[in-house]
Each structure stands twice: as C-alpha cells, then as structure tokens.
C-alpha cells in the first residue's frame, strides 16, 4: 500500500468520533510531562542530592561508581582497574577526558575514530567512553552516537567504563532531553541511549544474571572538578 492509502484508512477510522464514555476515561490526566514532574521521583536540586540519588539507584543495579577529585585521580582509577582486571586491549574514542585517561592504559588501545571494525572491538576487554550526561532520577548514563564513540563501543566489550564530570550529573530525563536539544538542535545523533545498569536478563526462572549480551560490568567515574 502507499502512504496515502494507509493514512486514508486511518483518517476514515478516525472520522467516527470516540464514544463519550471512552473519552471520559481517557483524558483526565495531566498531559504535559513537565507538569507531571511533581509526581515522578525527584532527581535532586543540588549536586549532593543528585549524587545521593544516582549512587543509591546505581548500587541497586550493581553499577560501580567512583567519585574522584580530579582528572588525574580518574586516570589513576582507570589504570588501577586495568591492572586488577588484567586488560590487554581496550577501545575508546577521542574526547577531552578519554584523551587524557586512556593512552597507555593497556598494551593495546584502539580508537573508534580509526574504524577498527567489529571483530577488533569484540576482542577488547573494556570500552572506555565519555557520555552526554548522567541522570540522577534514574541512575542512568546518557550516551549518543556522536558524543560517546558511536553505537557499539558502549555495548560490545564486556566492561563499559564511563568518564563524566560534575556538571554532567543532571536531575532527570527531561533535563537530559533539554541538553541534547541545546547541543545538537535539529541535528540529533542517530542513536541515543539511556543505559541503566549493566546488561542483564531474568529470562531463566526469573533469576537475575548480569552480562546477558552487553557488558557484564558498568563502571562510572565521576570527576568532581
């Protein structure tokens, strides 16, 4: 069928007005999500409140969160992770934080900008990326294909490490959308994702298993200054 035919069917169907009873049941809620903020869980007004929410939710989802004072402390933290896990090969992308923290992190470092290909990325021990924002209300990491090294970096390697700064910790999902609009305007990245915890499944007997297809571990390193 053509577009016009399908839309024609829709218009014809809608030409019969809804039954008053159905309408009455349907539309008595607050329509605007911004007004609805008041009955959604709070994100927090100050950094401290936001961080408390973010870490409380993250803990539940087994996200490893490190609050460090400076970028050089963050570099040390990732290096320590690398040593303790014995990383041999890691992948990353270029942005101000990773450019400092990633070089020298493992014997082999690949950069997404060099188009390493799926197989090379698959054999990495970890993917280290920046993010667009952290969301306090949901305990999520907001990544996009433009700001976080593409689509696969944050999902293909078994361990995803995120670097973020203090001002990136936003209260709620709506403020995340605002940020994207501000930063990209009409030209939004082709891929945007709220990552909430490590990859998981409950498909076998409802027992929670981490690392179903994506990363088994998610580490967030938040830099205070």
């Amino acid at each position: 069928m053509s577009k016009e035919e399908v839309l024609g069917r829709v218009r014809e169907a809608l030409s019969v007005p809804s039954h008053p009873q159905v309408r009455a049941l349907a539309g008595d809620g607050i329509r605007n999500p911004r007004e609805a903020r008041k009955f959604m869980p709070p994100g927090g007004d100050t950094f401290e409140e936001r961080f408390a929410n973010f870490s409380r939710l993250g803990e539940k989802l087994k996200v490893e969160i490190h609050l460090v004072p400076t970028l050089s402390a963050a570099t040390d933290a990732v290096l320590e992770l690398s040593k303790s896990c014995g990383w041999k090969k890691v992948a990353s992308h270029h942005q101000p934080l990773t450019d400092v923290a990633v070089p020298g992190l493992a014997p082999e470092v690949i950069w997404m900008e060099d188009q390493p290909g799926t197989t090379a990325l698959e054999s990495c021990d970890a993917g280290i990326s920046g993010c667009e924002a952290l969301i306090a209300q949901t305990g999520s990491v907001l990544v996009t294909s433009k700001g976080s090294g593409g689509r696969a970096l944050s999902v293909l390697p078994p361990h995803h490490v995120v670097l973020a700064t203090r001002d990136q910790l936003l209260p709620d999902m709506l403020s995340g959308y605002d940020l994207l609009r501000e930063k990209y305007g009409k030209n939004l990245p082709s891929f945007i994702s709220f990552i909430t915890g490590a990859s998981r499944t409950g498909d076998i007997e409802r027992i929670l298993v981490l690392g179903a297809h994506g990363p088994k571990r998610l580490t967030v390193i938040l830099i205070e200054s």
Binding site: A13, V22, G27, V155, L188, S190, F191, S199
Partner: protein, 468 residues
C-alpha cells in the same frame, strides 16, 4: 478440523490439570507483583503517572494520521526508508526485497512481537536465510520450535533443565544446572551471530513524531547490538506506537519499566533516528522502518474500543490475570496472550473465530486496574461478547435467555421452579461428573454447593412474621 476454539479447549484441558505448572506460574508471577509494588512506591503518585501516560497515548491515537506523517517526514529527512504495509504480507514482501537487494544470508533479530504477528521468520527461512532470535527468552523458544508463552517473558514456562536440554540438542553445549552458565552459553553463541549478520531486525516500543525516532526498550543489550553491528537495520512497528513528543518518553519509559517487569527503568532505552550520520564512527548504512497496519485501523474505527490501541505491550495484564495464571500463554493460540490479546485478537483476526477468548475471563477487572495506560480491558471483553451475540447469536442461547427472563419476572412461577430445582439437584447428585451427567464438562472439576435448606425468600418471610 481444528478451529481456534477446539485448539483452545484441548489446550486448556491439558494445562489446567497440570498443577505443578500452575503453581510454578503463580509463584513466578507473585514475585513480579512484589517487585512491581516496591517500584510503584518510588513514584510521587503512581496513579497520576498512569493517567498522564493514558492522556499521552490517547492524544496520539486521536491524531494518528498527522503524527505518522510528522514522524516519517523527520525520519526520511535523515535517510530512513519507510514502508507502509497495509497487512502482514506486504510487510514481509518488503523485508524480503530489502534482504534480496543486499544479498543477505544471515539475519539477527531482537524481540519484536509485530514480526511474530506477520509470521516473518518462516518466510525468511523459506527464502533461504538463517534467522536467529537474540533475546534470550525468544532464542530458547525458537530452538524449541515453540511460540512465545508470554509476550514479555517468552520462556517463563520453562525450567532450567529443559533449557539445558534444548541447548544440548540444538547448539551442542554441555549440560548445566546453573542459570548463569546457561546465559553465558547463549551469550557466546550469539556473539558470532551478531558479527556475521547481514541484517538486524528489531521492533519498536514507541515512535516519536517530533524528532523522528523509534525507541526500543530492553535489558539484555541484544537490541543495541542488533541495531549497531549489521550493515542494514530494519525496524518493524505497528502504526499505533507513535507518540507526539520526545518529552513524553520521560513518562512512558518509566511506566513501561515499572508495569512490565517491576523495574523503575529498563536497562537500555535507546532511540534511533536514522542510519549512520555524517561524523559518526559506526552504525548501519541503511535503516528501514516498516509501519504495519494489519487491521489496526479496524480497531481504530471502533469508537468504543479504540482506546485498546493505547497498549504499550508491557504484559502487566497477563501477569495479574487469573485465567492466564491457570491456562498459560500457549492455550490462547494468539500472538498476544492474556486480557489484551482477548480484546484485540477478535479485531485483528475476526470476531467469530476468537470470541471464546472474551468469555474466558472472570471479569474480575484486575487487568484494567493494573494497566499503566488505563485501558478499560474487562469492559472491552464484555463489549466483544455483546458484539459477538449481536452479530450472530445462538438460537438456543436466545431461547434460554427469554425463558429465564420470563421466569424471573413472575414470582409465582419462580417459586415453583425453585422447588423443581431442589428436586432436580437431589436426583442429579449421584450422577455428578459421571458419564451420564449432562453437565459433565463443567462438574467434573468443580464442586456445586447444594442449595440452602430454606430459600432466602422463605427465611425473610419467617423473620418478618417472627417480628410482628
């Protein structure tokens, strides 16, 4: 000949006597109810959030034409190819053509009920392609050659030994008793499949008109891999999934996570607005969105029941349904099980062959109460019953009802019938559930209380006399 009705009867006969399985289901679903209850409490006001969700989806349904136009224009502007499919066959044809154009041999899929509805997998396999379901639950039922048992938890009916067995037989893994090990078997099997696939096929939980995007909700990361690695990504989406604004997701996603699996937000909520764009390092070269009507407009044309199109397929109504808990998902014989399936299947596939589903309900209303977008499910079941009778009522039933109303309207007649009934019950009792019992189908597995020694009417009369 098997009809949907005969299949339903024979399947339910089997599933309802399997007490172990019934108990297993009840425990599993109780667990869901408990976690969900906890998450609801984190909302300032969960009921208000539900009402906002309902209002958003209602606006979407009432403006479906303009929103679909807006969404597809935005998607096309960034290089997405759109297919408008009037029915399942058209959608399948389009997808096969895309596959042929890129000479695809291997296909990886993430969970998408719409593709079950249009029977995509058998068609692609027939055309010589390998199709692998990547969602763990879907993968398990695919290996077993079964349909999903529940449209959110496809393999919830299986215990680990059965899963281990099918892995052993079909993908040659070692037997295991450990859910984590079983997951890891699937994980490593799937890894090569992602890397080799020519096409990734996904569903969509929402479409956003304002920004021209689809939104996919999942926990495992399989949809992200499916939509990132292959050169071609095809998303298949029912036309009713579109919502007006990006902001609306801030309500819809938590509702879906909470109602669906008792999680405040599901693991990955990803939005895709096109193929790989200028300046991006990876992603598919082609992105196709297949919009499927397949009788949704028929439901839309029903001014009383079009609110059923608000459904976000969270599965909550199945989880609380006493019928679902006892007969299980396969008995329904439909793509969508449970209350919502019973409501919409008659619209999607025909009222007469599927009307029995609307009768297999206790009308307790648990479904309507739990629905995060406030669909009036149990009343819709009654509306289906009414419509089925109006369209084609049984003569016997009509006759019986007429006699019943005559008796009810005449007190004297009613009272004499009452006496007859007592007598009848006494004569019938010894036959209960036996071969000669005309009510056998019902009484075999159920108890009938003997009538009270004195009718209410008599008791009332005596009481009044005692007073005066």
């Amino acid at each position: 000949m098997t009809t949907p009705l005969t299949q339903f009867k024979s399947d339910t006969k089997e599933s309802t006597v399997d007490f172990d399985h019934r108990k297993w289901m009840q425990t599993a679903l109780k667990g869901y109810e408990n976690t969900r209850g906890g998450v609801e409490e984190t909302f300032g006001d969960f009921d208000q959030a539900k009402r906002t969700g309902a209002a958003i989806k209602w606006e979407a349904i009432e403006n479906l034409d303009t929103l679909l136009e807006e969404m597809t224009q935005n998607l096309e502007a960034r290089g997405t190819k759109i297919c408008w499919a009037g029915n399942g066959a058209e959608a399948v044809d389009y997808i096969l053509r895309v596959a042929e154009d890129c000479d695809a041999k291997k296909v990886i899929k993430s969970k998408c009920m719409t593709t079950e509805e249009i029977h995509l997998n058998p068609a692609m396999q027939k055309a010589g392609m390998e199709v692998v379901e990547s969602d763990l639950g879907e993968f398990i039922v695919q290996l077993r050659g079964e349909d999903p048992f529940h449209f959110v938890f496809p393999a919830m009916h299986l215990k680990r030994n059965k899963i281990s067995k099918v892995f052993e037989e079909k993908i040659g893994s070692e037997p295991s008793n450990d859910p984590e090990e079983l997951c890891m078997i699937a994980r490593s099997y799937m890894r090569t499949k992602y890397c080799e696939a020519d096409i990734g096929i996904s569903g969509a939980n929402f479409g956003v008109a304002e920004t021209g995007m689809i939104s996919i909700t999942e926990n495992e990361g399989n949809a992200r891999l499916t939509t990132s690695l292959p050169k071609v990504h095809i998303a298949v989406m029912g036309i009713e999934k579109v919502i007006p604004k990006l902001d609306d997701l801030s309500i819809m996603l938590p509702l879906l996570g909470t109602a669906g699996a008792g999680q405040w937000l599901t693991g990955y909520n990803s939005m895709i607005g096109g193929p790989r764009q200028e300046g991006e390092v990876d992603g598919p070269e082609e992105f196709h969105l297949v919009l499927v009507d397949n009788h949704r407009t028929r439901l839309l044309a029903d001014p009383e029941q079009r609110d059923a199109l608000r459904c976000i397929r969270c599965g909550a109504c199945l989880n609380v349904c006493p019928i679902f808990k006892n007969i299980g998902g396969h008995s329904y014989g439909t793509t969508y099980q449970g209350p919502i399936g019973s409501v919409i299947t008659p619209h999607l596939r025909g009222l007469q062959p599927y009307k029995h589903l609307s009768y297999s309900s206790s009308l307790c209303g648990a479904c309507s109460e739990t629905c995060p977008v406030k669909i009036d499910l149990h009343h819709h079941l009654m509306r289906n019953r009414r419509d089925a009778v109006v369209e084609k009522g049984g003569t016997m039933e009509r006759f019986a009802m007429r006699q019943f109303s005559k008796v009810m309207a005449r007190p004297k007649l009613y009272r004499s019938c009452e006496g007859l009934m007592r007598l009848g019950e006494k004569c019938w009792r010894p036959l209960k559930g036996k071969k000669a019992d005309p009510l056998k189908a019902w009484t075999q597995t159920r108890e009938l209380h003997p009538p009270a020694p004195k009718s209410f009417h008599k008791q009332w009369k005596e009481k009044q006399q005692g007073k005066s």
